[in-house]
Amino acid sequence: MAKGAGNALRFVVGLIVAAIMMFPIYTALMGGFKAQGQIFSNPFGLPVPFSLEAYTNILVETTNFWQLFLNSVMVVALVLAIVICFSMSAAFAIARIKFRGNKLLFNFFIMGLLFPLTVAILPLYLQLRGLGLTGTRLGVVLAEAAFGFPLSIFIFVGFFRDIPRDLQDACEIDGGTLFTFFVKVIVPLSLPAISTVAILNFIASWNQFLLPLLVLDSDTKYTIPLGVMQFQGQYTTGWNFIMAFITLSMLPIGIFYYSAQRYVVKGLTAGAIKG
């Protein structure tokens, strides 16, 4: 009996907190479906009447939403490819091959966890400029990938270290090289770690604002966060349009998050659970 009451209380509290947490998202979601006048006469209620005016405008008629979307997709795809490939290969060497300086190399990468992007951003900008990469999406990609390595290598090394030595020996006995061991054994086993690394880097890259803000100068190359900022600056009173734009920008990450929730939580709490 008490258990039922306890659970009921939990449910109510949980619901209230969930409502508070979701309120801004709900506001953005509903706002996109309102007509221009309504967004101010009825800012937080349900859209009455329901209007697709804002969405059709953004998706079909005027703005460069699709270009922003494409830019973001390109950047994120490249970042993921680079980070996953090269952090896996580096982590494989660190975790499975004995060589001098192995530990030093690992600590060198881990040190990167202490360097926030904000500290490096000004010289990074100059570095990219020196390499002719300012104003390019490639510059954004390389910089974001570089900052993704510390955590990604950390996750992969932890994962690879746990793979039993016997598997590696068995592979060698069967006549395989380290390369075949890597491709045939490690990669398939690492799917959980790859998912975690992919998601963490996806979120970081998709939402990245400061770096593209500094590096990109032409709005045809802008990623979605920059586009949101620009759109909001242009349409200072068309809040229904802004809300629709924002909802669209939240959709990809929202969908991604809900389908891959487990790995997001796992990746972020990797250090939180003892043992």
Binding site: M21, L114, P123, Q127
Partner: protein, 302 residues
């Protein structure tokens, strides 16, 4: 015998080449775009430089002195300190309480609720900032609604335009955005609390509060350690959400170290000065990390 020595040497060489091939791409990118810029930041901070041409105007520690002498900079640092303190005192304990309440027993809707709590963290800060700007709208926003409700007048309140209120308005957003992260970390940590210890303490007549402090918190210490670390480092580096809600205004009252770096360093082509600010941020993080590792992380409570 000679043959086997050669064989071993060629094996060593092949192994070395393999290691280089595996490690080089990540190492090159990481060194070029992370390590080198941080070192360069340290170097540039001693100069007065607009980013073009050679570095000639050596300033010694003058940039640092200028920064600490600038009242806006002091406001920015103080804002960051306030964010850290408020987060540690308000955000983390609330997250902890909620995780105790909601994270242990599975009840109807608990998993769905958890996904809602974490969702704000996953969204882009800039997006979050803009939505909240709408919520804070002076004419029709939520604060105005509550003011009119409680005072019965038609008064409006523009929190983001008010020099005294803007900081709190922005902190509320930071609180909202990151509390889910800490909740999730604590919920994960709670999974590691041994039920037997709790039961034993309860049998011994310990109060709920006692159980929390003596059994639960020590058992999830690594979760708490990680949460505090992320909170402090994150608080000193906050940018996007503050930027979206006023770019450090009104009248610089919501400047943080990074918005200051952007406004007074990048925007004014004062790369030496901006680098000095960046180094200040860096030193704060490094010093914190050092003391944290030494006194907190290494203390194994259980």
């Amino acid at each position: 015998m000679i043959g086997s020595a050669n064989l071993r040497r060629s094996y060593q060489i092949r192994k070395a080449l393999l290691v280089v091939a595996l490690v080089a791409p990540a190492l090159v990118l990481f060194t070029a775009f992370v390590v080198v810029p941080v070192i360069q930041a340290a170097y540039y901070s001693f100069f007065d430089w607009n980013g073009l041409g050679p570095l000639v105007d050596f300033q010694g520690f003058h940039n640092f002195a200028r920064a600490f002498g600038h009242d806006v900079f002091r406001t920015a640092i103080w804002n960051n300190v306030k964010i850290v303190a408020l987060s540690l005192l308000l955000q983390l304990p609330t997250a902890f309480l909620f995780s105790l309440l909601i994270g242990r027993k599975k009840f109807f809707g608990s998993l769905l609720f958890r996904s809602f709590y974490f969702l704000p963290y996953v969204l882009a800060e800039i997006v979050v900032g803009i939505v909240w700007r709408f919520i804070y709208n002076p004419q029709r926003g939520l604060p105005t609604f509550f003011v009119q409700l409680f005072t019965g007048t038609q008064d409006q309140i523009g929190v983001l335009g008010d020099v005294n209120l803007a900081f709190w308005a922005i902190f509320a957003v930071i609180y909202w955005k990151y509390i889910g992260l800490h909740m999730i970390i604590y919920i994960a940590g709670l999974q590691g609390v041994p039920q037997e210890l709790e039961d034993a303490a309860a049998i011994d007549g310990a109060s709920k509060a006692r159980i929390v402090f003596s059994v639960i918190i020590p058992s999830m210490w690594s979760a708490i350690v990680m949460s505090v670390f992320l909170c402090v480092i994150g608080s000193f580096n906050v940018f996007d959400v503050v930027w979206a809600m006023g770019q450090g205004g009104p009248v610089h009252s919501t400047e943080t170290l990074v918005t200051y770096l952007y406004n007074f360093g990048f925007r004014r082509f004062a790369f030496g000065y901006g680098s000095a600010v960046a180094i200040v941020i860096f030193l704060i993080c490094v010093v914190f990390n050092y003391f944290y590792q030494r006194f907190v992380v290494s203390s194994d409570i259980t």
